[in-house]
């Protein structure tokens, strides 16, 4: 997404100049996320779904739930797998073809945030131990790009999982068989919220938009859970952070995350 042109350099200069005065290009404060709007169950054929707009970044997440074979070493747990993809209609520079390293990183960071928080209670998703378990697949597609895909995908995934209902299966003649009317709310333990911060010069900004994203020296994505603990982190970009900045980012992520969590909680209530 980074193309160097005269316009980009001018934008970057403007962004830095404004930050020196404590301001941002779109009028936000440094610790302010963009407007988040969440529409749950936008895709009725999915077991749960969410369409999330974070400013002008838009992501659709669909959750599909189906019987699967467990991993050999975790026969007493269901599966949770999360992916993310950048669609060619999301930005003029996105091409079709195998995913590039930034998209692979995106998918893995979003997956790690949800997984490490133990949001999905996989211990309750066993049909028959070591034989058959319930698999939960959360697939994100980015349909419009304006920076910070990490958080947009993370919120979409969390919202879609909170809105998910899983069918019930029983083993009949060694085959998982659907139990009509046995649907239940997907069991979850916590609501993870990722907060991505960009570093431009010596300034730390929350939820960089597309122009800010292209001007960043480095970034950090920190996921916290409902207890205010930190459960996943990823630093990126071609510069470093001081130890003090890392501590500061940790505090910001918990603080900003708790506000966003309230928004996600309402998805759960809405779907029940």
């Amino acid at each position: 997404m980074t193309s160097t042109s005269v316009i980009d350099e001018l934008k970057k200069a403007q962004i830095i100049e404004l930050l020196e005065q404590g301001k941002r290009v779109d009028g936000r404060t440094l610790e302010e996320s963009r407007e988040i709007s969440i529409e749950i169950n936008a895709i009725p054929k999915a077991n749960g779904s969410a369409r999330v707009r974070l400013g002008d970044t838009e992501v659709v997440c669909g959750v599909k739930i189906q019987p699967d074979r467990p991993f050999p070493d975790t026969g007493d747990k269901g599966l949770f797998i999360c992916t993310a993809e950048l669609l060619p209609l999301s930005h003029p520079t996105v091409e079709t073809g195998p995913p590039q390293p930034p998209v692979i990183e995106l998918a893995r960071v979003v997956d790690r945030g949800i997984r490490e928080s133990h949001m999905v209670d996989v211990s309750q998703l066993v049909i028959q131990k070591d034989k058959s378990v319930i698999g939960v697949f959360a697939d994100n597609v980015v349909v419009d790009y304006d920076g910070n895909l990490f958080d947009a995908c993370s919120y979409a995934t969390a919202a879609a999982l909170l809105a998910s209902k899983t069918p019930k299966w029983d083993m009949v003649d060694d085959v998982p068989t659907l139990v009509e009317g046995g649907e239940f709310q997907l069991p979850t333990n916590t609501i993870p919220v990722s907060v991505t911060m960009g570093k431009i010069g010596n300034h730390i900004i929350v939820d960089p938009n597309g122009d800010e994203w292209d001007s960043m020296d480095a970034r950090i994505t920190i996921t916290s859970d409902s207890d205010g603990n930190i459960c996943a982190l990823q630093k990126g970009g071609s510069d470093g952070f001081t130890q003090e900045e890392i501590n500061q980012c940790g505090e910001i992520s918990v603080r900003v995350g708790s506000k966003i969590r309230e928004k996600l909680k309402s998805c759960q209530q809405e779907s029940q």
Binding site: T4, D73, P101, P102, I104, E105, A107, R108, R112, R115, E116, S117, H118, A218, I220, D225, G228, N229, I230, C231, A232, L233, Q234, K235, G236, G237, S238, D239, G240, F241, T242, Q243, I246, N247, G250, E251, V254
Partner: protein
């Protein structure tokens, strides 16, 4: 092999870990600068049971040409594990994990390398993991820094790397494979000691805000231990008897 020992004691009452280390003690680290004849710079690291070889080429012409940048040189990193490096044979094709690690190591090295001095060129770093035993990305990053220095590429500092983590409710330095599998959190850190900058940072596992700060501190202190070993490796090659 054959499943984890369910009864393994990760931390005993005397504060000794499953491999006999204290909580703030790294595994045995040996770094050798140079060693490969054809590479412009190289390094070999043994970090506990990890064995990793790094070769550096460049600055050299960029191929394919469209990747080159008229303003600066570019850094390319490939982290690759051999099929025989882990318990069960690994498919030799690059996995998504390896692609992500290549990217984070590249971004950890970029702040250290003065690429702007070599516009239109590329510096290629090839990392080959011959044997893996937990913490390969940190060991690989530490070795890659030494290999870049060995190649004579101008640098602001070397990146030293070490992981910290939470094992048996305690923050420990340099999480090994067993601790990573059974432990509660793993935080790999890459750090430039002279510039006091953290250039690689990841975390999986749950930490309270206090543990988070402590974990960063323990990891940074570990990086400083690794840094001394990196400097010694370069000293041994260029100022000692180990020159080749």
């Amino acid at each position: 092999m054959g499943g984890r020992a369910a009864t393994m004691v990760l931390l005993d009452e005397n504060g000794i870990r499953c491999d006999g280390r204290k909580i703030d003690e790294p595994r045995r680290i040996m770094i050798k600068a140079g060693g490969l004849k054809n590479a412009d710079g190289s390094a070999y690291i043994e970090f506990g049971d990890n064995k990793i070889l790094v070769g550096v080429f460049g600055p050299r012409d960029v191929h394919p040409k469209h990747m080159s940048n008229t303003d600066t040189g570019i850094l390319r990193v490939r982290y690759h594990m051999e099929p025989f490096s882990v318990g069960e044979r690994k498919n030799p094709a690059p996995s998504r994990r390896e692609i992500e690690i290549s990217k984070v190591i590249k971004e950890a090295l970029e702040p250290a390398v003065m690429l702007e001095k070599f516009p239109r060129t590329a510096v290629d770093v090839f990392i080959e993991v011959l044997q893996a035993d937990g913490g390969t990305r940190c060991a690989a990053l530490s070795a890659a820094s030494v290999a870049l220095a060995d190649a004579g590429i101008p640098m602001r500092d070397m990146v030293a790397a070490c992981a910290a983590g939470k094992v048996a409710d305690t923050i420990v330095l340099d999480v090994n494979n067993e601790e990573d599998q059974a432990g509660q959190a793993d935080m790999p850190i890459g750090y430039m000691p002279n510039l006091e900058k953290i250039t690689l940072l990841q975390l999986d596992g749950v930490l309270t805000p206090e543990e988070y700060k402590k974990c960063v501190q323990v990891g940074v202190d570990g990086c400083k231990i690794v840094y001394d070993i990196q400097k010694k490796a370069l000293n041994d090659k260029y100022f000692g008897n180990g020159g080749d």
